[in-house]
């Protein structure tokens, strides 16, 4: 992985202000910004890892844990919010036993909260990978999640 990161940094070498594009490229390649990634960037850019972490955490676009096999997004946009998006998020958190931005221990699922998926008529919605599940009220979410975990087991 160190070499991947070095390859990413190479064209930028020495350029001040190239930190964010580098971080973006690293996230795209590896899915997240790891401790190793930051120390490799630090070493190659002659910056301190804390400085880089400070820059990265200023933006919400970066994640610091390895994403799971499935990305679960719970919408908390206005429409979903009024139709019980908050409760849906609580429920999902309980099922997966993680908070938004985290990944389950078996790295099967990552959870994220999003602002709007553009399908407010279907509120509240939950999105797993690229599939949108409409009107997810009550225990429906358990079924959806279990579908993904069981299909994994079969594979």
């Amino acid at each position: 992985m160190k070499n991947t990161i070095k390859d990413i940094i190479k064209p930028y070498r020495g350029e001040k202000g190239s930190l964010i594009p580098i971080l973006q490229a690293v996230q795209e390649k590896t899915g997240f910004i790891s401790e190793d990634a930051i120390s490799t960037i630090a070493l190659n850019m002659n910056m301190s890892e804390h400085e880089i972490y400070g820059v990265a955490t200023f933006y919400t676009q970066f994640r610091y844990t390895k994403p799971g096999d499935h990305m679960v997004k719970v919408c908390l946009g206005t429409a979903c919010h009024v139709r019980g998006g908050e409760q849906l998020l609580d429920r999902t958190e309980n099922i997966l036993n993680i908070k938004p931005g985290q990944t389950t221990l078996d790295s099967a699922f990552s959870l994220e909260r999003v602002a709007c998926m553009g399908c407010c008529a279907l509120a509240p919605v939950i999105v797993v990978d690229d599939k949108i599940y409409p009107n997810v009220a009550g225990p429906k979410v358990e079924k959806i999640i279990s579908k993904y975990s069981s299909s994994d087991e079969k594979e």
């Binding site: 002659n46 301190s48 804390h50 972490y53 955490t57």
Partner: protein, 793 residues
Amino acid sequence: MLTIDGKEVDFKEGATVLEVAAANGIYIPTLCTYSGLLPFGACRLCLVKIENMRGFPPACTTPAAKGMKITTNDLELNELRKNVLELILSEHPNSCIICDQKDLCGNYNICPTKSGRVTGCAFCPNKGRCELKQATEYLGIKEIRFPFTYKNLPLEREDPFFDRDYNLCILCGRCVRVCQEIRGVGAISLTKRGHDTKVGTAFNKSHLDGGCQFCGACVDACPTGALSARGSKWHGIPDKVTTTTCALCSVGCSLKLETKWDKIMAVRPDAEGPANQGQACVRGRFAIPALVNGASRLKYPLIRRNSRLVPATWDEATELAAAKLGKYIPEETAFLASPFLTNEAAYLLQKFARVCVGTNNIDTSSFFSGPVIQSRIKHSNMGAETIIDIAKSGWIIVVGGDIAASHPVLTVKINQAKKRGAFVSLIGSEQNINSRLFDSCISVEPSGYFPLLCGILKTIVEKEGFDSKFVTGQCDDFDKLESSLKKIDLQIIAGTCGISQNLIEKLTSTILSSGRGSILYGPKTLECDDPKQIIGMLFNILLLAGSPAGFVPLMDGANSQGVADMGALPDFLPGYQNIADKGSLSAFENSWSAKLPKKPGLNYPAILNAAVEGSIKALYVTGGEIPREISLERLDFLVLHDIYPSPLFETADIVFPAAAFTEEDGTITSLEQRVQTLQAGTNPAGMSMPDWKIICKIAEKMNVKGFEFSSASEVFDEICRVNPLISGHGIRDLKLKKKFTLTSVEKTSPSKRSMLQKKPLWHYRGVDLTEKVFDLKILHDKIFGGQDVQGSP
């Protein structure tokens, strides 16, 4: 010319509005400005009005311009500032700042009471240094109109030396910036954003894991009580503050000792210090109280009775010492001067040895004694080494020393040079604790220094890119150097030191294209076969680059320079007056009114050898000079000056308790040859005494005249009279030379000191600091992975 509050003033190009105001005695409240840091514009308290400028620009980030009309203080501005400060205070526990009873409890609220943290009463460890309070008082805020939010962050105490309570943090960023901009470390950073912003480390690592060097600069920069030195957190306001010089290394940082109940409770760097300019390192900032207040400090003299060391009075002990020392023939007696002695003590010790005992067997155990001193005499003066010069260099080479561990404050200057674009390289096999400091590292063992330097010099001379004007005008013996280099084959060189020709070429072309430079050479250079030659070759590089300044020895003892200057050397009298020279000998005989021994004495390794063999019968040791593996069984009589019990107690016949440097007046001479004063912050521990006083007392018992001093300054007066190096004002007389001699390169026979002593990296008079300061041990183990690291060979 610009107008500020109706006053027409001049200003320097590039100054900010805030600086112009301050220079003209106009106060503008600010919390995020800190001397030495770039403007940041975080706190928004310094908002001003400038005619024809939109809104309220912050004074700290607005450059002053011609014709500006600035208002710094009116009702509208103050209302605005009040709002800003109230918002800051709504997230900072504030009852101690705005409580209407605060004047009544002012005397007590600094005390170590442990009342609720949330109320803000009496838990802040800022010891009355609160810039928030100053600003609040200036703006006259009586109440806060916003609801108060307590962040309820856990207190961070897992790291050594200092605590962090980020509930008190106002996010001015001074700690982050001082760490990054001044120290060049960047161990902390502002993480996250908005309400969640917090000073922290990557992935919440501990500071220890994150590469913090615990210099304490962040603690000093903090305007609130968020960062506090743990050891002295609850001691309250000091009774007394004394400015002195740090005697833990040779940089010569000026420190402020804060004393309470006659104990050193805290130490802060002095912003006016010529060498450190407000900076310190982990030892100076945090280790001193634990070192000097240790419970096992020696408090009374000890003498050997029935094979045991028992307490004695000063009279008993000094009388015994006088009687015994008078018994031996002079050649059987030897004196060792610790490189941590003051100039006064070193001067009196050599005077005592020469006048009272009549021997020249005196030397210092500093690594930087023989070779460095000799080459310095040879080159007359090797440029005025100044720390400021390092910051002005275009290139810097550190040779054979872990500078970030041994002389951390110098890295501040290296960092300054780096910011101006200097190229910094390391030659040596040292681990370095701050790898970001160096642009290139040439890893080579001391045995490879000679071929490497030959290669560098040859490349420089052959390329003819050197400063020929300076070399022809001010340097002698260039031809000799050139012809001596002719014999050297670059390819063989690359083979012997394992450094590729390419790397050598790269380094030399950087040197030649970056103007004047600095070379800092550490104790490993003395491990080479011929240290004098290596030092001469390093100086050659500087001369060829066109400037003799910036040649800095990383001396191991705090006063290695001064102890040698004072004549604690076997072959030189004070001021490097050669003993073989009849004129200088008789001059000293006159001023001391005594007959002096003519035969040069033994040097440090020879003294140790003689003590082992038994030809030295009486030895006088002033702190930590005897390596553990040396057996002193055949010694007849051993006198010690010590501040803590040491392994030598097994053989010592008399032990005198010495005062630590925080407990005595005097002077020490730093590596840049600046004579700096020590001032006692407290009384000496127990019955201990400054070294110079102990020597005077023994001389008095021996009935020898010339030791009747009542204070260190009287001793210094005599030094000024007899030592031509120190002028009447007590300033080291630096005769800047116009002519320099280039050293020719030739393979010579080894002349290194055979018995270099292994010492702990951080020590004071033989006391391993990590043994006395627990947190320092944690840091040391972290940096060096628990290995026993020697400061030198």
